[in-house]
Amino acid sequence: MHSYLLIGVMALTTIIIRFLPFILFKNRTPEFIIYLGKTLPYCAMAMLVVFCYRNMEFTNVTNWLPGLVSGLIVVLLYKWKHNTSIAIVAGTILYMLLVQNIFR
């Protein structure tokens, strides 16, 4: 029974966080929040990329090199072809090859 309560708490808390901005600014959106709405998507994505790399340890080359190299390849591929799928698939395959074969 306790496990279902735990799931309920996790679900409800997550739902509240997701709905909070829409509840708080339902009727009147302050000017600063409108400004945040325009700028935050860019900032949030930068933060999310750092979030993805949060477990890197620079003391261990096998830990950080595959992620950084593959990330760089994704940037270059996208700059070159401007095709989202190609950049993601190629970058991911490279990363898998690196962590499975070279930097084990």
């Binding site: 306790h2 496990s3 279902y4 309560l5 735990l6 799931i7 708490v9 996790m10 679900a11 808390t13 997550t14 739902i15 966080i17 997701r18 709905f19 909070l20 901005p21 829409f22 959106t29 929040i33 409108i34 400004y35 945040l36 709405g37 325009k38 700028t39 935050l40 998507p41 860019y42 900032c43 949030a44 994505m45 930068a46 933060m47 999310l48 990329v49 750092v50 979030f51 993805c52 949060r54 477990n55 595959p66 992620g67 593959s70 990330g71 994704v74 940037v75 996208y78 700059k79 989202t84 799928s85 950049a87 993601i88 698939v89 970058g91 991911t92 990363y95 898998m96 962590v99 499975q100």
Partner: protein, 227 residues
């Protein structure tokens, strides 16, 4: 088939491999800790937040207190406040499926939704289909993992990098489509500095606060004109 649905399906395919495999991993781990299909479905349908569900496995397995679960959920998911504020204008005006779209605004769905040019599409349909496709991938992956175990015939170690790759692509495309590069650079610096100072499990909240402060200062310096 409706063009908005087709477009949403095409975009969701970038999420498909990551969600299937991360979902699979979640289902397998949950099973390993002794929880079956009912817990799995409840979590993937009603929590629907990748990293939270992974943390949730440990909370379930250790029989954590409800208070602990509450604070962990806040810590892990607080970043979603940014996504809500970022999609405020778009989602607030939706006529249909608004509630579901807000509920299903994950990292991945947000990253596609916030950078999508929806000109010529029916936004109601597009956002709903995108959110639904993504959650279906997630549910399918986690259920398969929970009942069938590891069904992939190859070593998929590292496939979760596809999510990182997706986010990187979106940062680059946003960079190209928006002239305000300063806020992106500063957000990177703030996040990295906070990561170094506060560590990987605690850096998001201070980073979010600092980013908002940074945006406020910039707005003042620039005299209120938006970049």
């Amino acid at each position: 088939m409706n063009r908005s649905i087709r477009e949403a399906f095409k975009d969701s395919l970038n999420i498909f491999p990551g969600y299937m495999v991360l979902g699979l991993g979640f289902g397998i781990l949950l099973k390993a800790k002794g929880f079956g299909i009912i817990h799995c479905l409840l979590m993937s349908v009603f929590i629907y937040a990748g990293s939270m569900q992974y943390v949730g496995i440990d909370l379930l397995a250790s029989g954590a207190s409800l208070i602990t679960a509450f604070f962990m959920s806040i810590m892990v998911n607080i970043r979603h406040l940014f996504y809500g504020i970022g999609m405020l204008k778009e989602y607030q005006n939706l006529k249909r499926h608004r509630i579901y779209n807000i509920f299903a605004l994950t990292d991945e769905t947000f990253s596609i939704a916030c950078s999508k040019d929806t000109t010529g599409l029916d936004k109601n349909t597009y956002y709903f289909a995108l959110s639904l496709f993504n959650q279906l991938y997630w549910i399918t992956g986690s259920v398969l993992g929970n009942i069938a175990g590891n069904i992939l015939p190859f070593d998929y170690t590292g496939i979760d990098f596809s999510m990182t790759a997706l986010f990187i692509v979106i940062v680059v495309s946003q960079w190209e489509n928006n002239s305000d590069h300063l806020i992106v650079v500063l957000s990177f610096i703030i996040s990295i500095v906070c990561l170094i100072i506060f560590g990987s499990s605690d850096f998001l909240l201070p980073a979010m606060i600092m980013i908002i402060v940074m945006l406020g200062i910039l707005k003042r310096i620039r005299g209120g004109k938006d970049a």
